[in-house]
Each structure stands twice: as structure tokens, then as C-alpha cells.
């Protein structure tokens, strides 16, 4: 982390509101101070009075220090437009300390939409708790860290960049509206929070699982066995077939083995070198069973969704990526969501497919206009026909 003098040209936004909260440690401290006060008054012990005064003074000093510290904080965010499930995405924050004298210490920066709060308790990580409250556990489980950035120190009149790592667990858009900057410095008695409105959306693409070429071709062949034509002859490298030699054929293409076997000259033909095309047809049921709105999967981007629809989408994304990697043109159709992306082998086409899959709303799948049946081989993917390894990969 490098710090730099304050850039006066920067115009970071001002905080929208301030929140004061007493954490559990603060309540404990207040309880101890209250007992101290009662004990000192009851015993009239002057030294206890002094300690009680120290404890109260600590609260006062803590409030003044942290309050004046938080007055000068400004922050901006730089986040990627897209991310992928289970892959880290880095959100960069630039923190400015406008204070003249007071440095910043122990600043925690979080995205408000990614923090579980009291109204949304189910966002807590679903961890198995050890029996007997962990009293006899050899080691307590470490909670899964929520994406956050921690600024240990920032001198007055300077700024610095820090980053937080976001690892989405489900596809879809992640709306980052507000940045939450908080601290319990210096004594942990009161948590002071300031809220900045900095809207941004990250589109989370579905995970892309590895599908090897043989498996891909097998899948395509199986899909094209009845209703799709074979590839044309051409000058590619893949074997197409054998035919009788005709004058003008290049001697390089004579299959001497077959010629020796048949007793006449036989020419080996190859497939056309043009990119073969494939269209992935994602067939979601028109009345997809809606997810329970009370489940965590509806809101929390850090909690995975385990449903057949999601597995189908993941498989479609994996097939699309594997097809492009195999130099095939790939397209995507989903009548339920009104998606029709023509086949193409470009990277931008794959991004379009992944983006379409990322933003596909399975709960609102309805009957759209039936697109014309593509001429290319069509891989029909439904929630029911996902290969088992792919779903669990």
C-alpha cells in the first residue's frame, strides 16, 4: 500500500449519513464502567472513583478521536464491470484523508449490499456449528470473510489505494450502491460508520467449467446425429472420407494404405477448414418453479444457488466456452428468456453469451416469440439433461 499527498484535483463524494452503533465489546465495556460507577459510589473508594473517571474519560476520548478522524474521510471506488462466479474480482478503493492533523487508523471499508444486517440475518454464512457451542472443539471454525478492505493507517492530507476481493457465489448482477466506511478505533467502544453513495453494478457471469474437446465433440455429434447435416469436404486437417482417385488429384492426398488394400488408387479427403457452427438452446420450463423468496439465494451474491436451472445455465456457459476454444462458432437461444445470439467464434460473441446467461432471470421465464430453428447443430440443454459430472464439477 502506497500513500501519496492529497490530490486537490480529486473531488470525491461527501458522505450521505453517519451511523453510530455500540458493538458487543462496547456493551461489555459500558457494563463494566457502570459496575465501576456503582461500586465506587457504594464504597466511596477514591481510587475507584479515579478509575471510574478514567473509564468514562476513555469513552469521551474515544468518541472525540474517532469522530474527528471520520470527519475527513472521502472515498471513491473502481470496480470491474463483470466478474465470474467463484473467481476473485478486485474492487479498488481510493481513500482520502482530508484532515489537517489527525491520521486515520483501522478503517474498514465494505459494500453495504454485501453485509448481512439484522433485517437480513439469513445472509450469514451457512456454516455447521460445532456441538456444545464449540466448548470442546479443538478449533473453532473461521467465518468466511465478507469482502472488505482494511486501511491500517493513512496520514493526514494524503490518499491511498486499497482493494477488496469479491468472490461471487452466484451469477447475476451485483448492485453496489453504497460504500460503508466504519471504525471502532481507538478503543472499540463505539462503531462509527459513514455511508457514501457510489452506485455501480457488477455483472456476475456463470461459472465456466472445463469440458475437453473430445467430450464436446461427442456431445455435438450426439446432438447432430439425426437432424443436422455433416460437415462439407474441404481443405482442413480433419479426416472426411475416401474416394477413388481421379486425375488432377494431388499425389499428396493419395492414401497408399487404402490403395494397397483395394488394388487401385484411393484419395483421402478432409473436412472443410471453415469454423463449424453450433447453437446452444437453453430450454427452461415456461413455469419455472420460483425460488422461495425467503431463501438466501434471492439476495446474497455470496451464497451459491443449487437448482437445476442454475446447473443448466452453468453447463451452457461451459459448452459455449469450450466450443469457442475449439474454434467453433457458437450461438445461444433461449425462448423462455427471449435470447437469440447467432453463432460466432469471436470473443465478443462469447462475452455476449455469458452476459446473456448472467442476466437471465429464471423466475420470470415466459413464452417469447419462437425463433426460427437454426440450421446449425443445436445442443438442447434442459435442467433435466445435465450430465452428472458437469453439474458437480
Amino acid at each position: 500500500m502506497r500513500t501519496a499527498p492529497l490530490n486537490t484535483d480529486a473531488n470525491p463524494p461527501r458522505p450521505r449519513r453517519r451511523i453510530y452503533r455500540i458493538p458487543r465489546a462496547g456493551w461489555t465495556y459500558i457494563l463494566v464502567v457502570a459496575l465501576l460507577g456503582i461500586g465506587s459510589v457504594n464504597s466511596q473508594n477514591n481510587l475507584l472513583f479515579f478509575i471510574f473517571g478514567l473509564a468514562l474519560g476513555a469513552i469521551l476520548a474515544s468518541g472525540v478521536i474517532s469522530g474527528s478522524m471520520m470527519m475527513g474521510i472521502r472515498i471513491t471506488r473502481s470496480a470491474p464491470q463483470s466478474a465470474r462466479v467463484n473467481e476473485p474480482a478486485h474492487i479498488r478503493y481510493t481513500v482520502y484523508n482530508l484532515n489537517t492533523i489527525i491520521p486515520l487508523f483501522a478503517i474498514r471499508i465494505e459494500e453495504a449490499t454485501l453485509i448481512p444486517d439484522k433485517a437480513n440475518k439469513h445472509l450469514k454464512p451457512n456454516e455447521p456449528q460445532p456441538p456444545f457451542f464449540g466448548l470442546f472443539a479443538s478449533k473453532l471454525p473461521t467465518p468466511i470473510p465478507r469482502p472488505h478492505a482494511f486501511l491500517q493507517h493513512l496520514a493526514a492530507r494524503s490518499h491511498t489505494d486499497i482493494s477488496a476481493t469479491l468472490r461471487p457465489a452466484r451469477r447475476g448482477p451485483i448492485t453496489l450502491n453504497t460504500i460503508r466506511v466504519s471504525t471502532t478505533f481507538p478503543l472499540g467502544i463505539v462503531e462509527k460508520t459513514i455511508i457514501f453513495d457510489v452506485p455501480h453494478t457488477i455483472t456476475t457471469e456463470p461459472p465456466v467449467q472445463h469440458i475437453n474437446t473430445r467430450e464436446l465433440r461427442h456431445t455435438i455429434e450426439k446432438a447432430s446425429h439425426h437432424d443436422t447435416p455433416a460437415n462439407a469436404r474441404g481443405l482442413g486437417l480433419e479426416f472426411y472420407g475416401l474416394r477413388e482417385y481421379s486425375p488432377g488429384d494431388s499425389p499428396r492426398f493419395i492414401s497408399w494404405t487404402a490403395s494397397a488394400r483395394t488394388g487401385r488408387l484411393v484419395t483421402r479427403e478432409t473436412e472443410s477448414d471453415a469454423n463449424p457452427a453450433v447453437t446452444i438452446s437453453l430450454e427452461l420450463p415456461q413455469t419455472s418453479p420460483a425460488l422461495d423468496p425467503d431463501t438466501l439465494a434471492q439476495h446474497d451474491p455470496l451464497t451459491p444457488i443449487d437448482s437445476p436451472e442454475e446447473h443448466a445455465i452453468t453447463h451452457a456457459a461451459s459448452l459455449a466456452a469450450a466450443a469457442v476454444r475449439d474454434h467453433r462458432r457458437v450461438g445461444l437461444t433461449c425462448n423462455a428468456a427471449g435470447i437469440n445470439i447467432p453463432p460466432s467464434s469471436s470473443a465478443s460473441s462469447l462475452r455476449a453469451i455469458l452476459h446473456a446467461l448472467a442476466t437471465l432471470d429464471v423466475n420470470n421465464a415466459t413464452t417469447h416469440h419462437q425463433h426460427r430453428q437454426p440450421l446449425t447443430p443445436t445442443l438442447a440443454i434442459t435442467p433435466a439433461n445435465i450430465p452428472e459430472p458437469a453439474a458437480n464439477a
Partner: protein, 810 residues
């Protein structure tokens, strides 16, 4: 320079934890706690310093915690009176166990709370100066711990997040905690801690002054106070003989006693301080011996003879019969009768400054207490007992026990035959006196005490001292003829004979033993052991006196021998606690006799002349200051500090008066300072605050000026650098045009040397230009090389390179 945040945090947390436990050990006077705490803390620090050791499994930690809790509950159930001590030790054990827990933030927060609770337990146990100093040191340490904890917790979470994103749960090789504290961060953190601790201390001082005193004291009950166990000291209002213990001398200070003799000068009372000698400070007298238990106690009959008459107009309290006899207002002109009385009475004034909150209700005095004046208590609830010459508080008043008071004492007891007030004694006192003469005397009547009577007879026979009853005793005492044994005529000589015998034939020792547990302890002392401390000697002398019908009582108190010239007072410690005897040698005249061997007790009571003793006395002075300004701070001092009087008017505060009043030439300067402790504290605080403000202002001004200078210098440097760069570029072009082009591989100064042969002037000028460029561009110096100067150099170079007539450049 950077240091690992974890290591620094661990160091501070271990130091704070250790300080908490040491404070409790000091408060409880229990070195065993320190013996456990120090090695445990050091071991924990060394083990966890590199953050590589696996901590003790959590289930073992929890099992130990449960064991400690159960053990504590069992002990509390067995002895509920020692709740603070037991709970404090429980906290110590919890702290020690948690030292070996993993140092995660989740575990560290309770450790900090435990440490704070340990400090509270220490303060509830003792409020001595050493505890106060440790608490004052502890406060910034705990603040530093809390501050570093906030940094450590955040860094710990960030580190865990990194590990979670980078490593799987099965990876065993994980990187250590990487976060460091730079020099700047350390400096800023230190300033923050200092600012927080200072603000908290100021707030604590204000709250300390403003908190209500004596409002709800004891409303929720009182926790136990610390006992002194088997150390010397005046702890009980009775004497229990027959115990086998090894008593240790305690150096703990109890009080400072200033003793003054009232003399007459120009018909006025003039006090003269007494600075040398050995003074017996009597606290309580014990007149009843219980043969069953071997203990001396104070009889209820004697205790009930209290006389009290508050004299608020004079600011003091005095027995009714003595108040009218003589006024003790300093400086007032006295009548001839009053002067005669004062000369006869031999008045001594004893000013007592308690150096610790006393656990007793008795005030100490020299002789018969005639008048008591408190410094800051207007209407104390006192009982002056004219029967046995003791003075005590009628009700519990810990505040009064911590107040400075002056007792004016008379050498002659009011019951004495030569005292003019004897005739004014109330009837009930006469009745008590009469009853005391007819009461049973076990030492004279009980066959169990025949050895005592035999010893008394043997001593008197040896010295040829006959026992002749004083037939006129009752008549001289104003009593009717009683059917009671009469004391001997030569009572004082007889008592002196007993004292001499005890001094010569018995040994003083603090190691007590018994030869025959079935015997009465006093008889065992007289017949068998012949070894004991002052209580045995006093008990034996009182028994011998009573065996020959001389009324005697055991008196408990202190011996004041250690004079401190700075305090202008005698420092009294626990080891100066003493027991002696008062015997009635004439009707109503009680004389003091000390049977303990002087040559053996004197080394104990003598002030220690060593260097350490001098240091200890300085500590005592500090402790005195501490007690007066902190421990004894009460409602009266609150009112005086703010200049408020009881009637609602506003007086000049004492500290302001002390600051503005001219110095008293007759008074000891140091004592004046010591008396106005609060004013001294305020002066120091004002000086400290002013110095701090001045220091901060000076630093800020200096920093501002440095910043201004830096900005100015930077601007000048930038301007000069631009000019130098332009001049250098122009110079290179001019040299190229003149056929002296600088090869790219050649440094400028070397090129200047090369062209010096062909054009020395141009070479010198180019050398100056290049040097100026170097200095402004890279070295950030040579700020005197102004653009004008550089332009001048460039113009000079062009002139030197200008083609001369008849010469063409190549």
C-alpha cells in the same frame, strides 16, 4: 524501520496483562501471584512471539477454565468473607490460562476485560500508593493495548481473507501474519495513545473531583477489607495470647504524628515541636482479662463511661469538665489562673495525619485527651471516655478516620487528686470508679493464678519491699469505706520492681511458642517460656500488679520514634505497634510502665539509618501526599476546592488562598507545601498544560514554517531547473553548431575538459552550465543559480563560441 504488528501487539498485551497481575499481587501482598504471573507471561510471549506455535487446544483451555471456576466456587462457599481475594485470584488464573490461548481477536477481547477487572479487584483490596502508581502506569498500557487491538483485529481479518482467497483449508503451509507498523505509523499511533490517555486522565481528574461523596456509601453492602495476617500492627481491639506464630515486622506506614509542647510566652500559649524522643501513642486500653481464653479486652463498664460535648463554636470537641478550665485558642491572652493550670497540666498537642485509611475506631493520643480538633470535619461524632482516657468514634465514619486531627492531652488524669476538675466529676463516674474497686480480681483471688502471686511475693521479698495497704486510698479518692482489698502504699516502687524483674529475666521475641497448652498463657509465659513480645510482657506486668491489688490495665498503641525532618513529624509504621501498662499508683493517677526490655525492643522501633531507609522515607512522603490528596479527598475538600461553605456563601478557595498568601516565616515551608497538596497539584497541572500547549504550538509553528520553506524551495528549484535545462540544451546546440558536438556517450563535464584545449573559455562556461544543470536537476541544491545567472552563462557561452573574423567553423 518497521516492526511486525503482531509482535508489537503481543508485547503490549503481555506487558499489560503482567501489570494487572502484579498490581493485584501488590494489593494483596501476595508474592505467590507474582511468582506465577511473571514466568507465565514471559513464557507465553516467547512461545507465541513468532506466531508459529500451535496454541493449546481449545477444549483443554475450556476444561481448565471449568476447573478453575469450580475450584473458586468451592473456596467461595467455604469462606465467603474473602470474596474479593478469591475472585481476584480466580481472575489471575483465568488470565494465566488465556495467556496460552491462541491470540485471535476473539480471545483477546476477554483477556483485556479480565485485566481491567483485575485492576478493579486490586483497588478494592488496597488503595496504597504503590497500587495507585501501578494503576496510573496501567492506564496508558491498557489504552495502548486497546488501540493496537483495533489495528491487529482489522489486519487479522484482512490476513484471513487473503488466506481464504488464496489457500485452501487443507494447505498446511500458510504465510505468517505480514502486517507491519512503519515508523510513521508508530509515531502517529503513539501520539494518538498519548492524546487519548491525557484526555482520559483529565476527564478522570474532573470526575474524581465532582463525584458525590458520602451519598450512598454502603448502600449495597461492603466487601471485605484486607487483613494483615501475622504481621506486626495494631489490628484488633483486644489481645489474644497463647498463639504459636512467627510474626513479621511490617514497614507499612500508619500515620504521621506531630507532637508539640504548649508553653507560655508573654502570657500566650506557644507550641514548640518536639523532634526527638520516644512517645507512646495510646489508642485503646484493655482492663478485663479472661482466664478461659487468655485474652485482654475492654470491659463494657469502662467503655460506657463516655462523656461528650461538641464545642462547635471553638471548632473542636472537648470533655465538658475540661473545656471551661482552660481555653486553648492560640494567641489569646490568658488569665493568671489559666496560666497556672496550663503549667500544671503539662499540655501536649498531638497532630495525627493518617497515612492510610484506618480500620479502627479509636483515635490515638498521648495522655488524657482533653480536646480534639479536626482539620476538615465540623461536627465529628466522637466519644471521649474519661474513665480510661480513650477517644473513639461513636459511629462508623471512615471519612473521619482519614482526616487530620489534633488531640490536646493532659499529663494528669482528671481523676487525679491534684487535678482541680476532679471535684466536678459527675456522679455516675464516681459510681463506676467505686464499682471498679469492688470488682472481682482473678489474679488476686483465683487459685489458678497462684504462680503469679508467688512470683510477685518472691520479687518483693528479694527487694525487701513490704506490701502495706494504703488505708487512706479510698478517702483520698472521695470514695466511702469499701469492703475491698486496698492497694499498697508504695505502689509505684512495687510496679517498678516488677518492671525491672521482667526486663532482666525475660526475653523479647516475635517467635511465639507455648510450653504447656493447658496452662494460662500468662502463667505459661511467667513460668515456662519466659519469651514473648510486648503483649506478653504487658499482660504479665498487669497480672503482677493486680496480684498485689494495684489496679492496672494493658494499653495498645504505637511507639513514635522515627522523626522525619521534612514532614516535621514522627512517622509511625505497623512495626511500631506496642503494648504497655498503666497502673493506678495514686487514687485516680494512672502512670505508664513499659515492661518490655528496652535494649531488645529499641532496635525494632529505632529508625533504620540505611540508604534504603532514606528512600523508604521518601516513599512514605509520597504516600502521605497520595493519601491526603487522593484517598482522603472528601466532601469537605470538594467544597473547599470550589470555595463553597456550608451556608451557601462562596469563600475564597483554599488553594487560591494558599497561592496568594505570603509565606509564613514561622512555618516550615515544606510542610506548607505538603498541606496545600491540591494547590501544588493544580500548579503542576497548570504548568503541564501550559507547557504542553506551548510545546504543541511551537511544533506546529515550526512545522508550518518548514512546510512553507519546503514549498518555496521547491518552487525555486523547479524554476531554476527549467532555466538550467533550457540553458544546457542551448549550450549543446551551440557547441554542435561550433563543431564541438558532445558525443552521446560522453558525460558533459568530461566533454568540457576535452574542448578546453581548443576553446578554454567556452569549456569553462559549458562546465558551469552543466554543473548548474546537474545541481538543480539531480541534487536539489545550488538554489542560488538563478535563471538570470544561467542566462548570463548561456550568453557568455554564445559569445565564446561566436566565430572570430578569419575563422570558420568546421
Amino acid at each position: 524501520m518497521t516492526r511486525n504488528l503482531y509482535q508489537r501487539y503481543l508485547l503490549v498485551s503481555c506487558a499489560t496483562t503482567l501489570f494487572g497481575m502484579i498490581t493485584f499481587a501488590v494489593a494483596r501482598l501476595n508474592p505467590a501471584i507474582a511468582l506465577v504471573a511473571v514466568p507465565a507471561t514471559i513464557t507465553s510471549y516467547l512461545l507465541f512471539r513468532n506466531n508459529t506455535l500451535s496454541p493449546i487446544p481449545r477444549w483443554i483451555i475450556n476444561a481448565l477454565l471449568i476447573l478453575a471456576t469450580l475450584s473458586t466456587l468451592r473456596i467461595v462457599n467455604a469462606s465467603p468473607d474473602e470474596a474479593i481475594s478469591i475472585l481476584g485470584e480466580f481472575l489471575v488464573w483465568l488470565t494465566v490460562i488465556k495467556l496460552f490461548e491462541s491470540h485471535t481477536p476473539r480471545n483477546q477481547a476477554p483477556a483485556l476485560v479480565l485485566s481491567i477487572l483485575l485492576i478493579v479487584a486490586s483497588v478494592l483490596s488496597a488503595v496504597t500508593l504503590d497500587v495507585g502508581i501501578l494503576v496510573i502506569i496501567y492506564a496508558p498500557l491498557a489504552t495502548a493495548w486497546a488501540v493496537l487491538f483495533q489495528l491487529y483485529r482489522g489486519a487479522h481479518d484482512r490476513h484471513n481473507a487473503r488466506l481464504a482467497h488464496t489457500f485452501s483449508a487443507h494447505d498446511t503451509e500458510r504465510p505468517p501474519f505480514p502486517d507491519t507498523l512503519t515508523k510513521q505509523q508508530t509515531r502517529h499511533a503513539r501520539r494518538t495513545i498519548a492524546a487519548g490517555a491525557t484526555a482520559a486522565a483529565l476527564c478522570a481528574t474532573v470526575i474524581f473531583i465532582l463525584m458525590p461523596r458520602n451519598v450512598t456509601q454502603g448502600a449495597l453492602g461492603q466487601l471485605n477489607a484486607r487483613g494483615t495476617a501475622s504481621t506486626t500492627g495494631l489490628t484488633n481491639d483486644s489481645i489474644q495470647l497463647g498463639q504459636q506464630t512467627n510474626i513479621q515486622e511490617s514497614e507499612e506506614t500508619v500515620l504521621a504524628a506531630r507532637i508539640q509542647q504548649l508553653t507560655i510566652r508573654d502570657n500566650r500559649i506557644e507550641p514548640v515541636s518536639l523532634r526527638a524522643g520516644s512517645f507512646l501513642l495510646r489508642a485503646i486500653s484493655l482492663d478485663r482479662y479472661d482466664p478461659r481464653t487468655g485474652s485482654w479486652t475492654r470491659s463494657p463498664e469502662a467503655a460506657s463511661q463516655a462523656l461528650i460535648r461538641p464545642d462547635t463554636t471553638r471548632g473542636g470537641i472537648a470533655p465538658a469538665e475540661t473545656t471551661a478550665a482552660y481555653p486553648l485558642t492560640r494567641g489569646s491572652r490568658l488569665t493568671a489562673d489559666q496560666l497556672r493550670f496550663i503549667r500544671q497540666a503539662g499540655i501536649l498537642q498531638l497532630t495525627i495525619n493518617p497515612l492510610r485509611p484506618a480500620a479502627r475506631d479509636e483515635l490515638v493520643s498521648l495522655w488524657f485527651p482533653a480536646r480534639v480538633d479536626f482539620e476538615n470535619i465540623r461536627q465529628p461524632n466522637l466519644q471521649t471516655n474519661i474513665a480510661d482516657a480513650t477517644i473513639e468514634f461513636a459511629t462508623d465514619s471512615s471519612r473521619a478516620r482519614q482526616s487530620v486531627y489534633t488531640i490536646t492531652t493532659l499529663q494528669n488524669h482528671p481523676l487525679g487528686i491534684n487535678n482541680p476538675v476532679t471535684q466536678q466529676l459527675p456522679t455516675r463516674l464516681h459510681n463506676w470508679y467505686q464499682r471498679s474497686k469492688t470488682a472481682t480480681n482473678p489474679f488476686a483471688d483465683d487459685p489458678r493464678f497462684q504462680p503469679v502471686r508467688d512470683l510477685a511475693d518472691r520479687i518483693l521479698q528479694t527487694l525487701n519491699l513490704p506490701i502495706e495497704p494504703d488505708e487512706t486510698f479510698h478517702a483520698r479518692a472521695g470514695l466511702p469505706q469499701l469492703d475491698a482489698p486496698l492497694p499498697p502504699q508504695n505502689a509505684e516502687r512495687i510496679v517498678n520492681a516488677f518492671v525491672s524483674h521482667l526486663e532482666r529475666n525475660f526475653t523479647y521475641s516475635l517467635q511465639l511458642r507455648t510450653e504447656d497448652p493447658d496452662l494460662d498463657p500468662t502463667i505459661d509465659f511467667i513460668l515456662n517460656t519466659r519469651t514473648g513480645h510486648c503483649e506478653y510482657f504487658a499482660s504479665a506486668l498487669a497480672a503482677l500488679c493486680r496480684a498485689v491489688n494495684i489496679d492496672a490495665r494493658v494499653v495498645l498503641g504505637y511507639v513514635a520514634t522515627e522523626y522525619d525532618p521534612v514532614e516535621n513529624a514522627f512517622i509511625v509504621r505497623e512495626k511500631h505497634a506496642h503494648a504497655w501498662v498503666e497502673a493506678e499508683v495514686q487514687p485516680g493517677v494512672w502512670k505508664t510502665f513499659d515492661p518490655s526490655p528496652l535494649e531488645q525492643t529499641e532496635p525494632i522501633h529505632r529508625p533504620d539509618p540505611s540508604v534504603f531507609a532514606a528512600a523508604l522515607r521518601w516513599f512514605d512522603r509520597l504516600e502521605s501526599l497520595w493519601v491526603r490528596s487522593v484517598i482522603s479527598f472528601d466532601q469537605e475538600q470538594q467544597a473547599r476546592l470550589f470555595g463553597l461553605s456550608r451556608d451557601g456563601t462562596i469563600d475564597t478557595p483554599d488553594w487560591l488562598t494558599a497561592l496568594t498568601a505570603p509565606p509564613d516565616p514561622d512555618d516550615n515551608h515544606l510542610l506548607t507545601i505538603a498541606r496545600s497538596t491540591i494547590s501544588v497539584a493544580i500548579v503542576f497541572a497548570a504548568l503541564a498544560i501550559t507547557s504542553a500547549i506551548a510545546f504543541i504550538a511551537a511544533r506546529r509553528i515550526a512545522r508550518f514554517r518548514r512546510r512553507q520553506q519546503r514549498q518555496r524551495t521547491s518552487a525555486i528549484a523547479a524554476r531554476n531547473t527549467d532555466a538550467a535545462r533550457r540553458a544546457y540544451d542551448d549550450a549543446l546546440k551551440a557547441l554542435a553548431n561550433a563543431g564541438l558536438e558532445k558525443p552521446a556517450s560522453l558525460p558533459p563535464l568530461t566533454h568540457a575538459k576535452r574542448i578546453a584545449a581548443s576553446n578554454p573559455n567556452a569549456a569553462r562556461t559549458f562546465h558551469d552550465i552543466a554543473t548548474a544543470y546537474y545541481n538543480t536537476r539531480f541534487a536539489d541544491r545550488d538554489h542560488d543559480t538563478t535563471p538570470a545567472r544561467i542566462n548570463e552563462l548561456a550568453r557568455t557561452l554564445r559569445e565564446h563560441l561566436a566565430p572570430t573574423p578569419g575563422h570558420t567553423t568546421a
